[in-house]
Amino acid sequence: MNLDGLPKQNPAYRLEALDGEVLLYSQDDTRILYCNPSASLIWQLCDGARTAGDIIAVLRAAFPDAAETISEDVETALGEFERLGAIEWA
């Protein structure tokens, strides 16, 4: 993962809670992704201004107990978002 890349939300995607779950879905087609709370947090940090490295740093500061695994989790989540077309890299 390029830590200097700027992940940016695709505006066609919306994040909404339904039935106690958080879902990231496309308005343009039928793509949809269930996100656990951590994944939804990562999505919300993809604002096109923060680099992937910044996102990891923010999350490590917020969740010091999970600091060791956060980098890999962010990489996994961004990879999935990218495969889904939910983010673009600036």
Binding site: P11, A12, R14, L15, E16, A17, L18, D19, E21, V22, L23, Y25, S26, Q27, D28, D29, T30, R31, I32, L33, Y34, C35, N36, P37, S38, A39, S40, L41, Q44, L59, F63, D65, A66, T69, I70, E72, D73, T76, A77, E80, L84
Partner: protein, 425 residues
Amino acid sequence: MIAPGWQNFREGEPLLRRTHLAIQQVEGMIQAQRILGKCAEPDRASWGALMHPFLALCARARLTEFHCHLLRQAAARIVDWEDLVARAEMQGIGPLVYTHVQAAGIDVPPAARLSLQGLYLRHRHAAGVRTQVLGEILAACQGQNIPILTLKGAALAYLVYPQPGLRPMRDLDLLVRPMDLERTRHVLDQLRFVDPPYRLPGDHHHLTAMSRTVDGLLVSVEVHHALLSDPRRGEPARLDDLIDAALAFDLPAAGGSVTARTLGREDMLWHIYRHGFGASLSYEPFRLIWAADMVSLVEACVDEIDWALVRRRYRQVWNTLPLFHFLTPWSDDVLDKLSLNVKRMPGGVGESFKGWPVFSLAAQKEKGTWGVLCDTFFPSEWWTYLHYGAGGMASRLCCRLITHPLHLLPWVWRYLSDRVVGSKN
């Protein structure tokens, strides 16, 4: 949404679940074809034999405990849920299936459940956007003193469905007087709606659909100046013929609500019937959402509808009501009040017309000549009675043996003429 604690992606709750419908973007494709004026052949093949008893049962806005029981029974026989969800979306009832599955307490496999949630959310969002746009249009027209009626889904979504998002739609359909067409087009221009790069002929019953993208959603508006043929006069109905019986309803809008008007209940039944089931053979095969409109309107307004008027003026509508019972049973209330005869189930319930000219001969090659002839001249009993609005044994027999074959004659004539001209050239 703040995560209460970091949930590691590799333990416990799955990181992200993903799904993708097998038949995706069907609605989008149809919409694109309509916008491009190419609504002819393309995706009709995918409609064939799409009916599933579970989906047919879902074609109603509200369920009774009896319907829930039937749904649970039908659900037990579903083999491929994801395929069913894709078909539900093609039939325009994806959000209804989502809510009915929940109401009936049916367990759906996770991937299909996720797909249903996605459909529900997408249509809910679309309904919110369309409500806002419709409110803008109606307010602008009212400001210009343009009498206007909201038609079909755009009205039914608020009148008979518990939530507008449960009634997906492609366009907002509106009816104005012929003399107000240009002024309405101007209103839409001012609201930043744009014309597509083609124009329908001037004598078409509606203007070319104009569209505008709002919050990522393409909202399309069709402004009609006439509806399908009115049996009272044998010619298209105009706003002036319908306005006296019009029904008012409140449309939620930014900063309050806008009062919208739509067809009276009896005229609405007729319009749904003609549009969904009695239109030309060249029109698209019927979809379950139209059955849901019909069933839901009757169930919601059985006490308000003037049934004597329906029987007198819209006999075809009255004749077809028992046929819907075999898709999704009428409630006891409706059966009692209307005394519908639902004793005999016609053959081929839910089976749309699948012969020529709806499907080209080339597309039906594998059926063989006999199969094509049967499907063309002897379509399912259920469809035939529905399409021609036939009731009573004699009328139904006449419909199958005479009316339908006669109806096909102009198509046969045109086909043969084209062949002769083609061979000469």
